[in-house]
Symmetry: C2
Subunit: 207 residues, 2 copies
Amino acid sequence: MIEVAVDTKTKILDAAEKLFGNKGFDATSLRDITAGADVNLAAVNYHFQTKESLIDAVIARRLEPVNRRRLEMLTAAGPNATVEQLVEAFVLPVVQQDISSILPMMGRAFASPDPFLLRIFKRNLIPIADRFCEAFMVALPQLSPEECRWRLLFAAGSMAQTLSWSQLVGEITRGVCDATDREAVTDRLVRFVAAGFRASDVREGHA
Amino acid sequence: MIEVAVDTKTKILDAAEKLFGNKGFDATSLRDITAGADVNLAAVNYHFQTKESLIDAVIARRLEPVNRRRLEMLTAAGPNATVEQLVEAFVLPVVQQDISSILPMMGRAFASPDPFLLRIFKRNLIPIADRFCEAFMVALPQLSPEECRWRLLFAAGSMAQTLSWSQLVGEITRGVCDATDREAVTDRLVRFVAAGFRASDVREGHA
DNA sequence: GTCTATAACGGGATAGAC
DNA sequence: GTCTATCCCGTTATAGAC
């Protein structure tokens, strides 16, 4: 493991990512970031102008490769893809980030009411959602387009919440669950979501 | 519809709830709240001491009846409850709030990294999760306790995210989905989650 | 490109009159 | 219980020397 010299811009992005992940965007001040990056306070404004564009840069740095990978996996799965393969193409690239500190941040950004964050997510996620809905409609032809969209939302919710809670699941579940084995968690998530997608489109009688 | 005089404390709670739901906790200042409630700035400190305990009060006012209703429905479903009945007991009381502005707020509070909000949720939700896990284990005896906990987390994630996005689904899905018919959305959500709970506990071979 | 110093502002909370 | 006025702090962002 060789530590190479990193430029100021990258040091800021790294520190910001970590802090945003741990404390959220609002609770993290530029002073926190520059202290963590061991750079001067003014450097962040020099390189990123405003806090908002710093947030944008932090998210884009991770989300763009994720979405590239998602589309790669979607294409690789081909037109006869199984539901599991599609769910994996949606979920795996997010979970397999090499920097785990980004995961809670991405999960949380999903849920933010901030119109600025909303713009970022609409820009980055709506095209992806379109592509995946098409693919799910092929794999599950009996699904209406509306139901398909809803299920993708539910799936994204499960994933996002799991990510944003990843550091807390032990505490929340009284130690029963452990999120450190990310592969196992992903496997559980994929199975849950795939089964949800396969649910009957009409309401079954119950009780 | 008769407007009765409300006391200052309730006016503050109502205004805070609305603003927290629309803008989030951080972005809402006490000045926003007192302006919206048409009360004096100092009144909030007089009645609630700090902003944090105001947040606590706002959440508790809605969450406590929800959890009471959840346990009622759980009890009413009895020991032979179906998976759908259990999921409904978990989801319906949240969705059927008479004040829709609270829904995004509750969904979002789920995802917050704030240790203060975390405390609130651990206090309010862990006992509920315990009770529901017991019930799901009865309805699905082949499920391991760990898998059961994970699935409850996934389910909570779907629900929370759906709530926090409820005002945006139209925009996000290019108009394909409409969240205003809450009953229909709940129905879709229950079906998705129940199917996820029923998924096989072991990984099937795929591709 | 990097630093120090500071401007300009908005926030939560409080003192004290009424 | 309710008000006005204010304190005090941390924040983002910038000006200007190096």
